[in-house]
């Protein structure tokens, strides 16, 4: 890290430590003193290391402001999260405990709703991949003139609010319609899955399309075709393995959306994680905070997985075009 980076991070740590100190003065939780000391010392150390570091020639001094702005931005996002976390561990008067988490994890409805959300999420991912990968591939290969239209269509779920979407679905697939999906549990699950596919479409399509842009789709297809491969083989053995990272990042985005979704599931009367969170939130104080942290960890875990996966992306040779 550069000199200014070290100093700015140190300053941010120091500010953070001061905030924790204020929190300690307010509620006298012993653990906070340790945190204040640890983060404060780390911050001071960073500042000292930064100051001692030889100034690199030509390093713009104005950089410290951008680092500071970055550090403040990080604090802006982290503080509410930290406050939520702090609240979630305050369930007992005696001090910080993870009892709220234990209560939540022990709750049968939590397990059921979470597993249900995961299953629906995985189903939405599978359907999404089967729908989007061949479509994006076909558009790139044979119908590039359709791309603007396809892009617009995939953006529609962002324009149409989920509440409108779900009312439309209920109207289309209710018990007195031609395709009464809402009549059975399985039908409603399928409808929910398809709704999530639609909701995740903008992200899935863009992720896959970006993946396809990194490979020479046409030449690879032709090379495989001339060796006797058919379209399905080409998609499965040549195209898909080369865009797997992009597909997975689309998949994790889908998962992140599904885990937090409330509107559609609630109106279709499905007990997903989001609906459970809302229920708990309406009746309890500390558990919702714990749930918020859990759902945040899941979302960030999914994002972290995307980052991790990009490291395993198949490397393409530099193309001479």
């Amino acid at each position: 890290m550069s000199r200014t980076g070290l100093i700015a991070t140190g300053i941010a740590c120091a500010i953070f430590a001061l905030m924790l100190l204020a929190l300690y003065l307010y509620n006298h939780q012993g653990i906070l003193v340790i945190l204040v000391a640890a983060i404060g010392i780390a911050g001071l150390a960073l500042i000292v290391i930064g100051l001692m570091k030889q100034k690199v020639d030509g390093e713009p001094t104005g950089k410290i402001w951008s680092w500071l702005a970055f550090a403040l931005g990080v604090l802006y996002f982290l503080l509410p999260l930290l406050a939520t976390f702090e609240f979630s561990v305050k369930i007992r008067r005696e001090g910080y405990t993870f009892d709220a988490y234990s209560l939540v994890f022990a709750d049968g409805r939590f397990q059921a709703s979470f597993v249900y959300s995961l299953v629906i999420g995985v189903a939405a991912i599978v359907v999404g991949i089967l729908l989007v990968v061949p479509a994006a591939y076909y558009v790139r290969l044979r119908a590039p003139h359709l791309r603007p239209i396809i892009e617009f269509v995939t953006l529609l779920p962002l324009i149409i609010p989920p509440i409108i979407l779900v009312f439309g679905y209920i109207r289309m697939y209710n018990s007195s319609s031609i395709l009464p999906l809402t009549n059975s549990n399985l039908g409603t699950d399928a409808l929910l899955t398809l709704a999530y596919v639609a909701l995740a479409l903008p992200y899935m399509y863009r992720a896959v399309d970006t993946g396809l842009r990194t490979i020479d789709v046409q030449t690879l297809t032709e090379a495989a075709t001339i060796m006797g491969a058919n379209q399905v083989t080409i998609l499965a053995r040549v195209i898909f393995p080369n865009i797997i990272v992009a597909v997975l990042s689309g998949a994790f985005l889908t998962l992140a959306i599904v885990v937090g979704e409330f509107t559609i599931a609630s109106l279709l009367n499905r007990q997903v994680f989001g609906v459970y969170m809302q229920n708990v939130g309406a009746n309890r104080a500390f558990e919702p905070a714990a749930l918020a942290v859990v759902s945040f960890v899941i979302t960030w875990g999914a994002m972290g997985m995307i980052q991790l996966l990009t490291r395993f992306a198949p490397k393409t040779a530099p193309r001479n075009t």
Binding site: T219, E222, A223, T225, I226, M227, N242, A317, N320
Partner: protein, 355 residues
């Protein structure tokens, strides 16, 4: 003569209103190495892609080994192809790339592995099977692409400018390697290039193309020495063109820069006073130091380019300038700049080109 192995019969191709291949007839023999040579946009790649099946001819037929394949999908044609951009599958290692076609054809594993090893040896990369394409140089990648195309024992090999993306030195060594492998396997090969030197050096026969038409189809020797059209003459090799005026059509005499000479190949249709173009290769012209040929012209040395084994002189003849190639002679230095020289040409080496 026996029926050609690959027969292209009055083939045309248009993209919307743009006619890019205009009724081409070609016949290639079995085991022959044929180059399609021409500037970009001449239709050579389109013809190759029609042979491969990636483009459908607007009219005409393609027959391979007596069987009409015009409407056969590309994956059933049993043709190998090498692309300019290598097109190796990035997710597969070298062995998997080479074995891809065999896997598709459901060749049993032991047989497939043996064939992959054999191909790796053929391209001079044994032990490279486990490497991934991104770990190879451009030349190595293209050799793997060649092995991949040949592994399923195709009945024909198509090469779409396979050397264009490589640097000059690799290009020369790889083209020799491709030719050697092609000879060893005796596989009918169609090679697309815009590089005339490349085409001349490795082909059995060359198809010179321009604007969707075949200008000439012949051996490199014929194409170079007896170009059939003005385009073929100017596109392949260096060509001197000098303006002349017909002096006496019956006696086949023309005037070049006021000097009257006899041209045996002067067409009978020429009339006195006509402006015509005479063309000849630089190596057909020599300095008149010893033996004189039927035409001797006086000129001035305008430029001396020492190219090593060959010296190229630019000799000015009034308004015209011609290139003269002479072999380097250790005992005789080239004439100096601005010196007066005589050049001599055999009348039979001169082509009178119509437009």
């Amino acid at each position: 003569m026996a029926e050609p192995f690959l027969k292209i019969d009055r083939i045309t191709k248009s993209f919307k209103d743009n006619l890019v291949v205009k009724g081409v007839d070609l016949g290639f023999n079995k085991g022959e190495f044929v180059s399609l040579l021409g500037p970009s946009g001449c239709g050579k790649t389109t013809i190759l892609r029609m042979i491969a099946g990636f483009e459908k001819p607007s009219s005409g037929t393609i027959v391979v080994d007596g069987k009409d394949i015009t409407n056969l999908p590309p994956n059933q044609r049993k043709i190998g192809m090498v692309f300019q951009a290598y097109a190796l599958f990035p997710n597969m290692n070298v062995a998997e790339n080479i074995g891809f076609g065999l896997k598709i054809a459901r060749v049993p594993r032991p047989e497939r592995e043996a064939r992959v090893e054999e191909m790796l040896k053929l391209i001079g990369l044994p032990g490279y099977g486990k490497r991934f394409p991104f770990e190879l140089s451009g030349g190595q990648q293209q050799r793997v692409a060649l092995a991949r195309a040949l592994a399923p024992r195709p009945r024909m090999l198509l090469l779409d400018e396979p050397l264009s993306a490589l640097d000059a030195k690799i290009r020369v060594s790889l083209r020799e390697e491709i030719r050697a492998i092609q000879r060893e396997l005796g596989i009918t090969t169609v090679f697309v290039t815009h590089d005339q030197e490349e085409a001349l050096s490795i082909s059995d026969r060359i198809v010179v193309m321009n604007a969707g038409n075949v200008e000439q189809f012949g051996t490199p020797f014929e194409i170079y020495n007896r170009p059939a059209t003005r385009f073929a003459a100017t596109f392949v090799g260096t060509l001197n063109t000098i303006g002349a005026t017909v002096d006496d059509a019956a006696a086949k005499r023309v005037a070049i820069d006021g000097q009257v000479v006899t041209i045996p190949s002067l067409p009978t249709s020429a009339k006195k006073g006509d402006r015509i173009s005479l063309t000849m290769r630089p190596e057909a012209v020599s300095l008149a130091t010893g033996q004189l040929r039927d035409i001797v012209l006086n000129g001035t040395v305008a430029e001396v380019n020492f190219l090593g084994s060959v010296i190229r002189l630019k000799v000015r003849l009034g308004d015209n300038a011609i290139d003269v190639d002479t072999f380097n002679d250790q005992r005789t230095p080239p004439p100096p700049h601005d010196s007066k020289v005589q050049v001599t040409i055999s009348g039979s080496d001169i082509l009178v080109l119509g437009d």
